[in-house]
């Protein structure tokens, strides 16, 4: 079966799905739209088929992927379960890129410098973007990874980030959920960011 067609603007976000990641999640979405790119997350995958296969389809359809390894600690639940989904999907992506070097670029993000050398030592030699757990760090890293002639400055994108983050609760309420990563919430965030990025792009200086 031929691989899915690649969307040259698509970026697969392999990120922690937890409430504490809210501000950084919004930063990735806001930042990518302001660079002319389009984020994708696993929540977009329809049910029915085997989840892992659909995630792999999504990765194959994206020109880029971002893998945020900043939550490598054990979960806060009493059983202290380690999180393996993000490294698993990173491994799938690396394999895909090795076999198809011109079809995909992947990037690793971390919150702490040098921790990746301990948590995932096989990635030694891979430069991770360090976001220090801040939206500004995410936006700065995105601008360093992706260069767009029309990209606004980080402080300007941060203004938009504050606005979008300030509206997340209303968007959750509108979608009748507390799940930040629910598909309806993700869609609303995407379109809101798309409108903002377009307004800013065509605004007179």
């Amino acid at each position: 079966m031929p691989p899915p067609q690649i969307d040259p603007k698509a970026v697969f976000l392999n990120i922690p799905y937890d409430e504490e990641f809210r501000s950084l999640y919004v930063a990735y979405i806001v930042g990518l739209y302001h660079l002319g790119l389009v984020p994708h997350i696993a929540a977009e995958i329809p049910g029915g088929a085997r989840r892992l296969e659909r995630i792999f389809d999504l990765i194959q359809g994206c020109r880029y992927s971002i893998h945020d390894l900043s939550r490598v600690e054990l979960s806060g639940t009493p059983d202290q379960t380690p999180r393996f989904n993000i490294p698993l999907e990173l491994g799938m992506t690396i394999t895909w890129q090795r076999l198809n070097p011109t079809r995909h670029n992947w990037y690793v993000w971390e919150s702490e410098p040098y921790r990746i050398q301990r948590s995932t030592s096989d990635l030694n030699g891979t430069d991770a973007y360090i976001h220090n757990g801040t939206p500004e760090g995410i936006l700065s890293g995105l601008r360093n990874a992706f260069w767009s002639d029309d990209a606004p400055a980080v402080p300007k994108i941060l203004e938009y980030h504050r606005f979008v983050e300030g509206n997340v609760d209303a968007i959750l309420k509108r979608n009748g959920t507390h799940n930040l990563f629910a598909l309806g919430v993700f869609k609303d965030l995407c379109l809101l960011c798309s409108y903002l990025a377009t307004l800013l792009r065509y605004a007179p200086n």
Partner: protein, 67 residues
């Protein structure tokens, strides 16, 4: 650090995104209104008009637009 990738593809338009995301027209209008209202506030602030730009610590004033 790897060299940045130069993004040269056409920017996605909100219309394309709304279609791809299959967002109902009514919701498209609500989200567009939220964005435009905020953008006008920013422009007004830039032009010296006393504005109401949302800061992180403040309750969002546009919340009702999403309800």
């Amino acid at each position: 650090m790897p060299r940045p990738v130069h993004i040269t593809t056409p920017w996605p338009t909100p219309e394309e995104e709304a279609k791809r995301l299959r967002i109902p027209v009514a919701r498209q209008k609500e989200l567009r209104a939220m964005a435009e209202k905020y953008f006008k506030q920013l422009e007004a602030d830039k032009n010296g008009v006393k504005g109401t730009v949302i800061r992180r610590s403040e309750k969002p004033q546009h919340a009702s637009a999403a309800d």
